[in-house]
Symmetry: C2
């Protein structure tokens, strides 16, 4: 069964309710007037759409906001109990599961170890079982059901077929349609995206009005290296879906470490968490995770510190090219290595050294504020945006 069958095909020019619900969900707007400003729609249009959404039971009016010198705004909220999105953020050796309600609240969260090499069927069956269990264990109202599943995977996802293509870290997953596999276990709409793309989308959620239309590059450095691009406030995935691949850029002047792609000296083979841990092991240190290594560096372990800093420098060097080319106004660092101050300092110093001054003048370089849950939040956003891009879900019962 294809994914699209579980999504309603909407009328061509129906109101794009995501325009209203998006700012509401992210808290970027909480009243009709604020929505009009945030969306650029006229106050009349906003009023009319809000009225419809209230009638359908998606939005409720809850009291008033503060006056800013005039009439107080009537506070609007998405009804969280309208449904749940099951979010799965798959890593290579671990996974994060989350339940996010239609208002965007994370109402449940689990972090578990998991070997992605066990293959699509085992991994996804386990994941779905986790989500179902989480719904049963949760204390959401009984009518708040799971309405769909959003999956992030550590590999390239084709934008045309939604299949995973040539994933270097996911043996056995090449050509797999995650939606098809999941839908053998549970009959729900499924969306799939690359994990770095989801984190990039998640990063936009609590951005203010201006940043919501920003050009942004999100770099995830964990066991591997990934990158999500936001152009004009929307996720940019390129012509085929694998835009943002910076793993296999050659690092100038680096050692010829062999890479999974068949070449040597790729950024991923030199600066990823996996690469660093292996370097530590080669030097005789009994380290098995990046986290352990970062802890060592915090305690000023010389080799760990040097490796992390160097990884930051190499990553920053690649990002300098990207920043010159893409001219973003925001660069966000995520993934485990973003927790390492040494790594981040390495990125920053190289970036400012190698970029044109004009390119970095307006650029902010930050560490993500949602370590751990950014991917889940982005996953929910992608699902909900798709579902509500029109009136994809049936009208709900009116608010109590």
């Amino acid at each position: 069964m294809s994914t699209s069958e579980l999504f309603r095909t909407p009328p061509r020019h129906a109101p794009q309710n995501v325009e209203i619900l998006g700012p509401l969900r992210s808290g970027r707007a909480t009243s009709r007037a604020a929505l009009a400003k945030a969306t650029g729609l006229s106050p009349s249009t906003v009023a009319s759409r809000v009225e419809d959404l209230i009638a359908q039971g998606h939005i409720v009016e809850v009291g008033h906001g503060e006056s800013r010198g005039g009439r107080r705004p009537r506070h609007l909220e998405i009804r969280g109990d309208a449904g749940l999105v099951g979010c799965i953020d798959l890593g290579v050796d671990r996974a994060t599961f989350g339940l996010i309600d239609f208002a965007g609240n994370l109402v449940g969260e689990r972090h578990l170890d998991l070997d992605i090499a066990a293959g699509p069927h085992d991994v996804l069956s386990f994941a779905v079982a986790q989500l179902v269990d989480m719904v049963e264990q949760s204390d959401v109202p009984s009518h708040t059901r799971l309405r769909g599943i959003s999956v992030g995977v550590p590999g390239p996802v084709s934008s045309t077929t939604s299949r995973i293509v040539a994933p270097s870290r996911m043996p056995g997953w090449n050509g797999v349609s995650v939606a098809e596999v999941v839908q053998r276990d549970i009959q729900l709409p499924v969306v799939v995206n690359n994990d770095a793309n989801l984190m990039a989308a998640g990063e936009l959620l609590d951005a203010d009005e201006a940043a919501a239309f920003a050009n942004q590059v999100f770099v995830k450095v964990g066991s591997g290296i990934g990158c999500g691009i936001v152009s004009g406030g929307e996720l940019y995935t390129g012509s085929n879906g694998w835009a943002g691949d910076i793993s296999h850029v050659s690092v100038p002047g680096a050692a010829a470490v062999p890479c999974s792609c068949g070449r040597t000296g790729c950024l991923d083979a030199l600066a990823s968490g996996n690469a660093l841990v292996r370097e530590m092991q080669l030097a005789g240190h009994d380290v098995h995770t990046v986290e352990a290594m970062i802890t060592l560096a915090r305690d000023s372990h010389p080799l760990a510190t040097r490796l992390l800093r160097n990884a930051g420098v190499m990553t920053g060097g690649v990002l300098a090219t990207i920043v010159n080319f893409f001219n973003p106004d925001r660069l966000v660092l995520g993934g485990v290595l973003a927790d390492s101050a040494v790594f981040v300092a390495g990125v920053r110093s190289t970036l400012y050294a190698d970029c044109l001054p004009m390119a970095t003048e307006q650029l902010t370089v930050e560490v993500t504020r949602h370590q751990g849950t950014g991917g889940l939040r982005g996953a929910a956003r992608m699902f909900l945006d798709r579902v509500f891009s029109t009136e994809g879900l049936p009208p709900l019962t009116p608010a109590p």
Copy 2:
């Protein structure tokens, strides 16, 4: 006087006539039905807008097209005699001038030597005088007047202020508003863009329907190196306007040649036309232009060939990172060096060697089809798109 004063400020939600005129001007559509397909608008909407545009005198119906198994399409054309755009493509030591009518036809063209270091006032006064002279000399109908001026410059143009910022090849132009300077000589609307961006826009003009929404990277390698980005069929200029700057990317393993930006080993300092000519001179060859060097390489001159090939390899190496990151479906090479088969081969070989196979699988790498006039055509497009983004110009006299 600011540019905007010479552009009409349009009503907020008027029909975007550029949607109709764009495909018509580029020849991507020539009938109502084709326009509906190209724009995604409904047939009724297209019919209504076309009717308006005919009434305003912008479009004429001229006979019929070929039947494709049904009723023959009624052929639509833009009235070329509605006006002229004066296009100026400034280079460092030469300039190209063009007159392009509102139908997109190049009705006049001049190539002249010119030293950009003479400064904004002298250069632009000369340029405007050329355009005025070209109009007088041309045999367009007397009512076909110059309606605006579109300028391309070999340096970064701020997207917020339209001023030239920190141009390394344009001494005396820093902070200059080209529109202001031009408007001292002639009272017409003026738009300014970076030259590589204009060439990228020009490359889209005769693209087919699919390619018109493509993600495309245009690389201009002439005396300097520039790059224009097209995302989803629209010019992408980044947050500040200088997206696409690849001149100052460090080339791995290259000589530490000093660059105008203050660093060493930049692509521009190694692979640009200027750099190559200087290398030839250092080796004792009496060569003063890139063109001469390309001619030598065609005759198998060893050093010229080696330098050109090497420049291609270095450029291709940088572009590999860009292609992995941006995942375009089209990469177009322009500028003088694109005339050199050796250079192009160098780019291609490195690109296919250094990119991920998935990134190049669907990628086409081409040489521009409009050497010389691509910038002019792009300049006209940018001007006309802006003017007709609504009914910016007054209704014309009805067609004769």
